[in-house]
Symmetry: C2
Subunit: 600 residues, 2 copies
Amino acid sequence: MAQLIADKRDVEFVLHEQLAVDSEYAGGPYAEFKKKTIDLIIGEARNLAVKELYPLQKVGDEGCTFTAGQVTVPDGFKRAYDLYCDGEWLGMTDDPDWGGQGLPHAVAMAANEYFYGACNAFMLYNMLSHGAAKLVESFGTDKQKGQCLKQMFSGKWSGTMLLTEPEAGSDVGALTTTAKKNEDGTYSITGSKIFISGGEHDMVENIIHPTLARIEGAPEGTRGISLFLVPKYRINEDGSLGEFNDVVCTGIEEKMGLHGNCTCSLTLGGKGQCIGTLLGEENKGMAAMFQMMNEARQMVGLQGFANATASYIHALNYARERVQTKGLTDPAGAPSVAIINHPDVKRQLLIMKSYVEGMRSLIYFGGLCKDRIHASEDPEVKATYAELLEVLTPIIKGYITDKAFEVCSHGIQVYGGYGYVEEFPVAQLLRDCRIFMIYEGTNGIQSMDLLGRKLGMKKGRPFMAFLERIHQCISDAKKVEEIKGVAESLEAFYTRYTEVAASLSKHAMSEKVSDAYAFSHPFLEVTGDLTMAWMLLWRATTAAPLVGKKKKDAAFYQGQITTARFFIESLLPAAQGKLNAIESCDGAVTAMDDAGFGSR
Amino acid sequence: MAQLIADKRDVEFVLHEQLAVDSEYAGGPYAEFKKKTIDLIIGEARNLAVKELYPLQKVGDEGCTFTAGQVTVPDGFKRAYDLYCDGEWLGMTDDPDWGGQGLPHAVAMAANEYFYGACNAFMLYNMLSHGAAKLVESFGTDKQKGQCLKQMFSGKWSGTMLLTEPEAGSDVGALTTTAKKNEDGTYSITGSKIFISGGEHDMVENIIHPTLARIEGAPEGTRGISLFLVPKYRINEDGSLGEFNDVVCTGIEEKMGLHGNCTCSLTLGGKGQCIGTLLGEENKGMAAMFQMMNEARQMVGLQGFANATASYIHALNYARERVQTKGLTDPAGAPSVAIINHPDVKRQLLIMKSYVEGMRSLIYFGGLCKDRIHASEDPEVKATYAELLEVLTPIIKGYITDKAFEVCSHGIQVYGGYGYVEEFPVAQLLRDCRIFMIYEGTNGIQSMDLLGRKLGMKKGRPFMAFLERIHQCISDAKKVEEIKGVAESLEAFYTRYTEVAASLSKHAMSEKVSDAYAFSHPFLEVTGDLTMAWMLLWRATTAAPLVGKKKKDAAFYQGQITTARFFIESLLPAAQGKLNAIESCDGAVTAMDDAGFGSR
């Protein structure tokens, strides 16, 4: 049977050959994770994903039901949830003291690729629970941690993030939910929140809502926001569940996709009975939120990637089965062939492959950065990888989810008319995928983060280190005969990119600031293109010496070289053109006035 | 109230200022259509579209129902259908002898923009009826025409096109439906067809199915395909309806969108009782089909455009209402402003505007070409515009529907989280829009048509004439001070484009044919970019002298100049980069072998 979700060989290639995690982990706190163990873990994840989660994808698309404040998840979700929790997958990378498994992050990313690729709507419940638990772990008092953490990492309780309000989306500072201090030190919370994924459902005993609210009398804007721990059911001193905490689900959204995950509107304290405890310090809610946001953004990148890899595998399988005449490029009467041999279909598959594989390397590498932060005892090393991850985060979230949507659209196109029919899997992957470009900070916000924060952060040191890494990869590749030419092409692009980044950065700090920010998204895009090219060239450099070595894998390794060549020689030139546009930084967007847009 | 569907001012600008249809039509067969009449007609269309069709969009999304061979259209469709037919809109451009209204095509395109933009799923029924009627008009015998045409142009009967079979999609020649000649000259038809839009429904008395089938003993492939007229109910000699013709609907597809239009599977002659009559000559079905296809492809381009314009108007209205702080580009504490003033949102709106307006000009201009073909008595003129339309057709179908999907995705992004919620209109516009890239010839097929047929057709004369027109526009623009610089930028792109087109054309006829066709879609894309730039520069040339003239319209005209500037200076450079990739025509796609793609 053809593979589903992800290409096993490629998953192994990234972990064991490109990143060589085995030798990476040797001697450190992850020393027990040798190749065999890692493969075993991923095999287990694959098994659970294919057998138990993948069947939820279709049934999940039917959606959750909402009746009188209660949300019922789709059939089969609860069973799969229990299996997922029994396998202790929710806290797989977390501290064993709190019930976690202490797995390395790069390995967890591979496991997650299968889980999210099997059913993103299902996994979103877990993603949010994990993010909420990490908030409690980082900012909670001993009491809060003691009451919640084991319950959350085990999945007995789930978690969310109560941030958005109708008038406060990207503009978090505009939120109006209030917190009034009670005599016992707790707070009475009142307000309405929307777009709360997994805000209410029937798979768990209790739901922990980290909630952004404004303490009475706090400063305006983001400086006056605090974070609270608000449970669905109050928690008694002994840890048992107390009375209902007046967090009422008033409805769920009808969405374009991701139907298996309920998007809830919640009213807090409608009866004045919603009690929360402060999580962290007063008025420091935004900083705490950003910590969670950073993890969440990396995970949203993974969500996009997971749909892209699933769409690619489906399209690849289909293109090998579907036989049609080739048309113009064959003489009349030539025999029909599988459409993978038709140039335009093959081009689309190669586009999909290059993005999917570049994304996989980037996502796993992001995990490896976390592992290095965790494993190293050298503060310098910790700082280096923390900074690198800061630079990579908007690329992982913004660029990957943009391109994942494109990849999923190619998936539909390869299927032709069948791609539009919901009986086949690719339409849903596209529909589900579209939200990833929006939530946890729209991709416009990601691009502003890259240009406005990450580029100049700490006098540009992290960004320079990011570039230096790419340049090192190019230098290494130039020494390998088979890919020297491709490496030189990327070097030319790289040089041009550094010039343009410097130029845009200057504009962003000049009176041309608005013009510059009208190019923040194109700049994110070319930065992502550069990052993909880096990952693909790194792969090719790893693969090239192995082509002749293992006969069984020759096509796979050769495919790595051809993929890098395709991306750099056939796709990257468009980015080169974009660099010219960014450099000229034309002020048309600024010049356009509201009335010029027409209508009214 | 804000406008819906399309920008009235811009519709008028294209018709009356850019194309100046009024003076165009003077003295010819369309002489009665003066500005006042045209505006009146479009006003009527707008009225019907906004009041009666637009409300169908949401209800149509609930889908059709299928029970025991019967399809029920969504609530309200039948009422709107009757109003649409009463207004005689179905045959608006057609021969009054058959009940048509004889309207010019450019004007009809404007009316259609409102109709399709209001509810594409509803209009698809009419689009197919019209295409089927045109087939009967072109290839029918007097008897066939007499029996069907008035019924079809009036909408009393509807029409379809029975082409696709499970194993014959893009590969039409693989179809297996058979036709066996009876003694009375009719044919007994047997086979199964899929993906038949409007193949069965309850809005009309009878449905006429032009059907591709293979006469027993006919040659293999496309050379053995004939076209038949197959009614749902047989037609008696006196034109009244006879018995059921054994065309059975076996199901409808569950699709990603366009739910209001049923996509049917039909079984013909399951009981041996399906009778058809030959439409045109034996074994000439493909040629007839291509005639219909050409009209259909232009209409699919309009379908995509209509969703794009609707998405743009919605996003524009929303961006003017939604107030949020601007973030990084404003000092802390600056007041919140409508998000149309945020650089990244404004950039997206300007992308949407430039594509939508370029598409509008192109679509209406396509209509004007038809008008010239119809109105001129000079065979040379007729041939010139027929050829130009041949070149433009793959651009209208392929490029416009690709970009319409992108525009609709920007529409969602401008709405943020609300864009993903089906309560707002933009998600559906994206879902509905995705099929346009596939049906009536996938956009891959369109790109092969451009590269393989249109580029070299008649020794390249039509393609050269297309280029010459663009060059003329650039020359004219260079004489206008305000846009001279932009015109020169486009001229540089134009020159490079012509070199690359020549180079790719050579590769396509060499042993690098497969490499060349792996660039057919990128070539379609840059050709479309050039065409958009042409249309926008033409608009700017028209608008520039008027900026100071009418105070009320100054912002509108200035907006035309700024839009052309934005597209040519900020978006087109990416296409310039793509030209480099196409010119190098790297063989990575050909070099990639099946096994290199991985999985299995």
